[in-house]
Symmetry: C2
Subunit: 371 residues, 2 copies
């Protein structure tokens, strides 16, 4: 059966042959090894995690949940989804919970994308929208953001056609940090009943959300996460607001038990820890103001951010050069070439505690003088 | 924009319109509510969880991991996958880790199933093979097991055609509990290079595995889980052995960060807790022997099990009748109608501690006398 042995690969779908592994922010261990640095002195500011850690209440809830960790978790995270729904109290809008927000729009691709369908994505942005499109055998139409990092709304509207099934919008956009113009989002929703997925992973930092709009636009689905403001990236809990007309289709089409039992417990408790939430908001706000002031003083080009990170515009130099210099000094930041065209000139730095930001700015200033 | 509002549903794929929510084993809370019972007195023997709980080492590791739960977990569970690989030491065979084993064969459907492709599944069995097939737009060919609960190998071989991409085999089979004949699995592998997914979720209880075969048959992929013998169902950690020629395609095509940080830590520690492993094996072995003896004495038809559950054959009565009688007494077991044709006459009971098994047998005996 030599033939049989050789041909396992021939079963692969064509689209799979061209995939590359997801590029994650680099880990502390990776950088410590590569540059021979002390791991405890490395600053990880590459994945927009919460540098304050996570809510003590959440950790306690997770620890208590270990008592029953031999038991499967709730099949669709029912209690958590009800609690989130309660905090917002919105009629006709349901909440679904996923293994990180990525998992939710991956499931939405299952609901909506057939082979040959199209999605519309403004770039540079989070690369997973493109990935879920490709995995589904659909075609992502990638539209560069305008010079002001806003959507090219004319181009987007002109591209919507019979094959279009989903339009992805990230607001505040990762990695540019800015909110997309409300009027542009409205234009899209007013002109089409295609599914609009709005990624609001960073909405808490912007203090602005379009969740209420789902009552008027049932084709709008809004994703959120516990990974950023709630400091639970290690637990993988995301959620989405979805119109009640679509919610059951979603629940009927997902893999069961995707969120761990301690993860559900931690998220539930985190929802309730307003102090931790406010403390994070304050730290990010102060950090951004500090960056704005210092970067302007040093004449370093940067973008205004509505998220928990700040993005430098390194044009005409590739951002990877600056990223490497920071890496060599034990500061992990994110050069954004994997976010699509334009990203190669963007350097994304998560807002840290005061002392972290000071350290980053020292290196940036030093370099800008040298240039 | 009234039209736009009404038509969000029209974006759904046709296959999604016919889906139903996954039927999980009933939870203690659900049954306590329904029958007005004290939750602490309810016995949950419906999901083949480990009634001994989980390894203390695993719980400690999970608690320690909370320190960094604000940080994303390793993107592909690298350390855990290397450690599992080491415990088996198999050349050319890689280990991939998923959010429960379900997640792994869901990803395999992404790798191998196009619209219109076919899979072959022997029923009654775990319903998720059929679900991932349908989600992919492919067609499951469901072949009833023979009277001895073995595969209808002639039928299976005759059904393999150009459209066939995956053959699912569950061994020990859920919910019948028996190992599939090795010679039948060999016949399939010798006759085809289609992907054969072998679900060995219960292999540790059988003390038998075909992992080594992957060296000879690169089209064989074998799934395993931390949910059963390791008692970590609440954490959702599964893994699979896969030939190195396919492993990179897998890693290139999956969602990142699917297993939580504490989940990875717990699984790593559980691997190392041989005492807990052996204690579980012993409890299940003793429990099964007790059941065999007592069921035979009481003339209650049952199947021989290589897993951590025992299955009763309730024909010609529907298993749901007996399941309900047990439920009313606070014992949750699983009637298997959702496992496909034939399952409606099977009642699956997880092996419990001695006192649990005694309690179940009391009800069964009482009922069999009444009949």
């Amino acid at each position: 059966m030599q033939t049989a042995k050789k041909n396992a690969k021939k079963n692969l779908r064509a689209v799979i042959l061209n995939m590359h592994q997801y590029t994650a922010g680099k880990s502390i261990e990776e950088i410590a090894d590569k540059y021979n640095l002390d791991p405890s002195r490395i600053l990880k500011l590459s994945s927009n995690e919460n540098v304050l850690g996570s809510s003590l209440k959440a950790k306690i809830a997770a620890t208590l949940a270990l008592e029953k960790v031999n038991i499967y978790p709730d099949v669709v995270s029912d209690e958590l989804s009800k609690e989130i729904k309660k905090t917002h109290g919105l009629k006709n809008i349901e909440v679904v919970v996923g293994n990180g927000m990525d998992h939710i729009f991956e499931m939405l691709a299952r609901l909506f994308l057939n082979n040959g369908d199209e999605t519309i994505i403004s770039i540079p942005t989070f690369s997973c929208y493109e990935l879920v499109t490709l995995w589904a055998g659909a075609k992502p139409r990638l539209i560069p953001l305008l010079k002001n990092y806003q959507m090219d709304i004319g181009k987007i509207l002109s591209l919507i056609n019979k094959k279009t099934k989903m339009i992805f919008i990230c607001s505040p956009n990762n990695p540019t940090g800015n909110l997309m113009k409300t009027e542009d989002i409205k234009k899209i929703l007013d002109s089409t009943d295609k599914i609009v997925f709005l990624d609001e992973a960073y909405a808490e930092f912007a203090g602005k959300s379009l969740v209420k709009w789902i009552e008027k636009y049932p084709n709008l689905i809004i994703g959120r996460t516990f990974s950023k403001i709630y400091g639970l990236a290690g637990y993988r809990v995301g959620y989405a607001f979805i119109h009640k007309n679509l919610a059951n289709y979603y629940l009927n089409s997902i893999t069961p038990f995707v969120v761990s039992r301690p993860g559900q417990a931690a998220a539930l408790a985190a929802l309730d820890d307003h102090d931790f939430f406010e403390k994070t908001i304050r730290m990010v706000e102060e950090g951004k103001n500090f960056y704005y002031k210092e970067l302007s003083k040093a004449n370093i080009k940067h973008l205004k951010s509505d998220a928990n990170f700040i993005t430098l515009d390194t044009y005409p130099q590739k951002a990877s050069l600056l990223a490497n210099e920071l890496l060599e000094r034990g500061i992990i930041v994110r050069e954004c070439s994997t976010f699509g065209k334009g990203g190669e000139y963007l350097l994304r730095i998560s807002i840290g505690k005061r002392e972290h930001n000071v350290k980053v700015l020292e290196v940036l200033r030093e370099r800008s003088i040298r240039d």
